[in-house]
Amino acid sequence: MFSMIKKPAARGIAVSACAALLLSGCGGVVKEDGKKADPAADLPDAEIVSPIAGMECKTDAEPTGDPIVVGGSLSLTGPLAPTATLHKAVGDLVVEWVNDCGGIDGRPLEWKVLDDQGAPATVTSNYERLIGDKVDFVMGPYGGAAALAGAGPVTRAGYAYPTATNGAPDKLIGENHFPSWHIGGGVEDPTKMFAAQAQTFVDAVKSGANPPKSVFYATSKFPTTLSYTASTKPALEDAGAKTVGDVEYDLGTTDFSSIAIRIQNADPDLVYVGGLGADITNLYQAFDAIGYTPKGIYVALPAPAAVQGLGDKADGLLLSSIYENHPPLGDTDVAKYFAKSYSEIAGKEKLFPLVETQAAAGFSAWQILLTGINEAGVDNKAVIDWLNGHDVETLVGTANFDGFNNYGSDFTRVAQIQDGKRVLVWPEDVAGAEIDEKP
């Protein structure tokens, strides 16, 4: 019969364990100030305005007639759900906003979302279904694989295909594709798709007082992050930053302790984390475990809640971003109203309440689509033609659809957490503060 522990030993362990539990219990585990501060608490109130340029907001007019239906597929369950839920919330918000403003040409806007559970095959059939149901327009899904999976039916049916964030960029979708932030935009040469993004980052770190001389790269096995690192590494090396370590890790890794130890041993000026989602939280957990504080750290695509959750530790953290809620981009009436109403809907959906990259890109994609409809009418071909010939003012800047694959110029920017706030630090025309690099 099986028994590994002799009686007295078991008792001894039990007693000391209970003691340890009691001790740690008495020490107080939860902070006395309790609940976390709401980052959206000090948002100013804002007046409703038209969400797009060239449209008037008639708050007193009820929209009537047949609704203009926009269909979309999002990964509302499964691993991509956190971000997809956010895009769903943005869509809901925009629809309500437009209808509060009297609709488009007096017609109400409606939006119909199907869940694809993160399976690209389902994305394809969802768009086929929406098109079969004769939706008037479509909104792109979230994520590179999904965007490409949806592109087939959407393009075949001749629909305009606005997308928010899309990380599989070096292949064609077509002239009907209107990305608000196509990661890797801004180049003519498709082999250097991520060069603009890398250059922005290098310029950002060079603008500070102490550009890094040594960099450690840790990259998640995920298409976008791998491409990011692959382009940033040579750019940083050209700028004089020596590579002192380069590891890749499996997508979804939660235990970073060995990587943290490798970083500790290399002790670089900058830790470049090609990570996404909660990677940064787990990495900091591993840093905490060994009592290490990185000199400087950058993370590619962190979940906003993950960064927020780091608390004070996140101070000085650099991240890629296209938008943060501060002047000059955040100073417009549209931005203010969006920020206010987004914080409300995000609170309801238990999402991170501030507008940042994803929400801003999502909203901008809607702005692109709505501007097209407003200018060219309820007709996909006309919308496609109009958008291909004009620039669109969006929350994140002026979007244009020319160059390789309609990608337009690159919106990738660099943000930093300063005094607990997310602030763009590069490029200068949108920056809210200067980059702060510790010596």
Partner: protein, 331 residues
């Protein structure tokens, strides 16, 4: 009696071929793009459920690795299209064979010891899934982590030109799988597998070469899943480890088979059809989480209320009505 069996068999074969021909003739020409795309998914799931059941349903060795074989087929196709110019038929064969070879390797090892039956077999196939995922995401030849674009590799070829053509290939694969499943149900092969499920020791003592049957059937089952994975690569246009190798696939396939029942060869077919349609209908209720919960709850209820699945419960009454005739035929 023999004539009766033969007639029933001919009827089944005719039914499968007829349905496939009808589907191929009608769906791509008459159906909307949505119907064709949905139809393609539909036949793919049918092929997956039937091929899973071919081995796991018949032999009782429940594999959680079916998604891997499907994914291996998808990735083999992506790699072939990227690195070679061979016709799609060859690609198809390579996809099927790659999955089958993987199954042979795993099968030769796993079935060599009676310890790896039951739960352990399931978990070893699950472990195989994790290892294959790691390998694919780290070999640049297959993927390397950045995903593989298939759409433009297939542009200009017959297979890449329309979803209708994918549907035709998918339907042929599903029909082929159904014929294999039917063949297994009426032949020595199926008898051998089912004797393994009932009592492997007895099967051996009756002269059934259980090891050979298990390895070969596992390979055939995997090969069929690999075949089903080939058109999927083109359908997706862009394949990515995270999206191709999801645990959802084996789970759904098992669910379909259990739901449909394994006592009839067409049970998994019914199960696949019901699950696919129910999932599609649940898209309309507007709460994706709720639809997942409903799906899970329905599954639990089915296990509780219909332990033999739909096929095992519904037509039993039909059989019973026919029973006297059968008895008569015996005497």
């Amino acid at each position: 009696m023999n004539a009766r069996i033969d007639r029933a068999l001919a009827g089944n074969v005719g039914g499968i071929v007829g349905c496939a021909v009808l589907a191929i003739a009608l769906v791509p020409t008459l159906g909307s793009d949505y119907v064709v795309a949905f139809g393609f998914q539909f036949v793919t799931w049918i092929a997956l459920a039937l091929s899973w059941s071919l081995f796991s349903g018949n032999s009782g060795y429940a594999s959680f690795g079916h998604g891997v074989f499907f994914g291996v087929g998808t990735y083999a196709t992506a790699a072939m299209l990227r690195h070679t110019d061979v016709p799609f038929v060859v690609v198809l064969v390579v996809a099927g064979v790659s999955a089958a070879v993987l199954a042979v390797i795993v099968g030769l090892a796993v079935f060599s010891s009676p310890r790896f039956a039951g739960d352990l077999f399931g978990l070893i196939t699950l472990a195989m899934a994790f290892i294959v995922i790691t390998v694919v995401s780290n070999l640049a030849f297959l993927d390397g982590g950045t995903g593989v674009f298939v759409r433009e590799q297939a542009v200009g070829s017959w297979i890449g030109s329309s979803t209708g053509n994918l549907f035709i290939v998918g339907t042929l694969i599903a029909a082929g799988t159904a014929l294999v499943a039917l063949a297994a149900s009426v032949s020595r092969w199926g008898a051998a597998l089912r004797s393994i499920r009932d009592d492997e020791g007895v099967a051996e003592s009756l002269g059934v070469p259980t090891y050979r049957y298990k390895v070969l059937t596992f390979a055939v089952s995997a090969g069929l899943a690999g075949l089903a994975g080939a058109p999927q690569a083109i359908f997706l246009g862009y394949v990515e480890v995270g999206a191709v190798f999801t645990l959802n696939i084996p789970l759904l396939v098992i669910m379909m088979t259990i739901l449909g029942g394994i006592t009839r060869w067409w049970g998994p077919l019914v199960g696949a059809a019901s699950v696919v349609v129910v999932r599609e209908l649940l898209l309309d209720i507007g709460s994706p989480e709720l639809s997942q919960i409903i799906l899970g709850a329905v599954f639990v209820l089915v296990i509780a209320l219909l332990p033999h699945g739909i096929s095992g419960s519904l037509p039993r009454s039909l059989t019973r009505r026919k029973a006297p005739a059968t008895e008569g035929a015996h005497r």
